[in-house]
Symmetry: C2
Subunit: 338 residues, 2 copies
Amino acid sequence: MADIRDVAKLAGVAPITVSRCINNSGYCSPQTRARVEAAVAELGFVPNRLASGLRSKRTNTLALVLTDITNPFFTTIARGVEDIASEAGYTVIFCNTDESVSKEKKYLQVLLEKRVDGILLVPASNGLDSVALIKKRDIPIVVLDRRVPDLQTDVVRCDSEEGAYELTRLLLSLGHREIAILNGPSGVSTSGDRLDGYRRALNEAGININAKWEYHGAFTQESGFEMAHKALAGVYKPTALFATNNFITFGALKALQEMELRVPEDIAVVGFDDLPASLVTYPFLTVAAQPAYEMGRRAIEILLDKLCGKASDQYQEVVLPAEIVIRQSSGRVRKLVQ
Amino acid sequence: MADIRDVAKLAGVAPITVSRCINNSGYCSPQTRARVEAAVAELGFVPNRLASGLRSKRTNTLALVLTDITNPFFTTIARGVEDIASEAGYTVIFCNTDESVSKEKKYLQVLLEKRVDGILLVPASNGLDSVALIKKRDIPIVVLDRRVPDLQTDVVRCDSEEGAYELTRLLLSLGHREIAILNGPSGVSTSGDRLDGYRRALNEAGININAKWEYHGAFTQESGFEMAHKALAGVYKPTALFATNNFITFGALKALQEMELRVPEDIAVVGFDDLPASLVTYPFLTVAAQPAYEMGRRAIEILLDKLCGKASDQYQEVVLPAEIVIRQSSGRVRKLVQ
DNA sequence: CTGTTAGCGCGTTCAG
DNA sequence: CTGAACGCGCTAACAG
């Protein structure tokens, strides 16, 4: 394959001149440029970005490490990231960790080896080690969707606590007192925050926090299915379920179907995360909708700013509000708490 | 940042020995390995894959170029690809072309520059130029989901023609004679194949092909919405709709809702592509479900085989069957055509 | 099992 | 506006 020297020879210039034309770095006269471009075309020259990256220490590649691209919430984030990144001339590598810390570590190692210019991370578990690892290498990082305890980083996330609070308050306003929360893994900040919001709403309503209403599992359909079954297996059954992510919600609904419980007549259901309109026939679920695309956009913008030195010295924490979308699954709204 | 020579010095060996330990290439004694590993750890050495790629001409990076990662069909494919690729030690770059040939070209150029080891491509439009471009560079490629006319390549796709045929036959067996097809862009093979299957079923049933029942648009919700409106605007209205992908289906359903037409009582609906169980409460749509994960898996396996020279000389075309899943949207099954 | 030599294809640095 | 020299960090090829 032709290299930059072949092009230079054919165009009658020095290799560095070709380099400057290709990358629009430095000046070059229109004539020179024309001859270089002709030579590039004639030889079918394709610059080798491994070599240029090796030399320039920039790869124009970013990485988005998330838990599961199969989840529309993350898919939408990914799309936001990719749209902006590609406009800015960056390619994006995606990695699915499946909430596994060891997978996350393996991926991050590879990304460091590939010398990506920056990383967007949805940390599995609390993410402490991972973020520290990357920061030690001085690679710009923005944490997405989840908080990382005790660590200075930029974060873009949704206000899970408030969203959960409002969702719970909605259920309370509908007269529910026995509300079970079907939650994700406890090591993840969104689980913690959503539990906090749930408890705050109960507290305010003068209802005792009770461990028997609090279930912890995984952010998966299977787990939602299981937790719903457990929640309804005992003598004291909840009158409403709060599922803390979309997969849990659908798992729970499947369980309720099996038990022949109607939603919302027999039991009310609310959940976190909405589905894109392009995938829903009859919107039915009352949810706290996270602004996923916007989250991706904001995160990548911060990262790009850091990459061109435009970022402030201070770490930013961008917290976007969830939108409460009331539909049928929560039951009829009788009275809204002020 | 420490480089391989620093490690070599500290371990008292030659750089190449360090290289062999890191990459498990060539032999090295346990003692040597131990000393190298200690040195690596002490210095926090992270191998530079730009340099090794430059030297070895392999990047361990693949690319998946698709139209829209937001579509669960492609998301599922992507997941299949990533799972297998990462097991085999490859990272995957994702690119969204939005069915735009120019975006596709831009991405492919970047991928060539990055010297990816192989490419999986869902071609926008007919994909001829793109595939030719890659093949000229001698980069292994597998085409996914769609056929490319007149070009020798490996292809993994679903049998769209047969799926469409069966779906249409189902509608015919339910007594429908005026069936509108809401189709994707005509430059894409899946559109063509689905139209063919639709027509074959009509022909067999002795029904004349009629252009007024055939709509072409894009594989988007908006387009499905529009086409459904058009299809039902005239004097002669179809009694059934066949939407050729998931987004079109949901757009059409939204239009029907607006028109206050009930499915399936007032009009029957069938579509291509199923939704993952993790995203559906009450499965309702009768669909031709494509084995998306399997398609991704097969495609990446062929690509990996080519990368390690295990592939046969012949190009393969893997055509997987779509599964017809009969649910409510098609109406009651009165009689099944044999 | 390990080492030596050389060079992958570029861009930085300095010079004109 | 253009060029010469050098080296980024690693591994292929060959030797021992």
